[in-house]
Symmetry: C2
Subunit: 116 residues, 2 copies
């Protein structure tokens, strides 16, 4: 049984180009790297006329980002199972890259694995 902190972050007024799929992918890859997570799958989807979704499946669960460039808005989920991984370190990488004017973080504690 493991207590995991998952972060759900809403970013508003981002300065970064939220329609740049390569940039978003590399940002999540750097976030995963920052916490020592191992990426096993990378998926990018571009919406028409704009908007991007990027999901990294990790050995330790997932990182995701969905963007609405027309609103300067991005939804980021940081779900990293594994003891000693600090999701805030991953969030800091995303924050510095996307440069939101404001953001809201929901921090959720999940109990992962078997239960008594």
């Amino acid at each position: 049984m493991l207590k995991i902190l998952q972060l759900l972050v809403d970013l508003y007024g981002c300065e970064a180009d939220l329609d740049d799929a390569e940039f978003l992918l590399s940002t999540l890859e750097r976030a995963a790297d920052e916490v020592g997570a191992r990426v096993v799958r990378k998926v990018t989807h571009r919406f028409s006329p704009q908007g991007v979704s990027v999901i990294l499946i990790l050995a330790e669960t997932h990182l995701s980002i969905h963007t609405w460039p027309e609103h300067g808005y991005a939804a980021v989920d940081i779900f990293i199972c594994g003891e000693g991984r600090d999701p805030h370190a991953a969030w800091n990488v995303v924050r510095e890259a996307l440069k939101p004017r404001t953001f809201e973080i929901n921090e959720i504690t999940r109990t992962v694995g078997p239960r008594a």
Copy 2:
């Protein structure tokens, strides 16, 4: 600006075969279909020696499941942007398929899109 209800569910003591990737994928597809969500990408990853991750990227964000068959445990995220979508309807599909002995739901309200 849109208020979205996201569900993060921890399932314990599942009766279903949590190592069956096809079954998990079809369960998420049925959940997406139940709420009228449009699937744009499907990703399945099998871990060794066991465990599966499945993520559906939706036109309306994502559904994900990560399993630890050795613990009878699954982590399910139901994040469906779009007015009038009921995430509980999607959850009911997953619940009936995976047959957990117990579960815990975190319900998080997110504000998606531009802010005043």
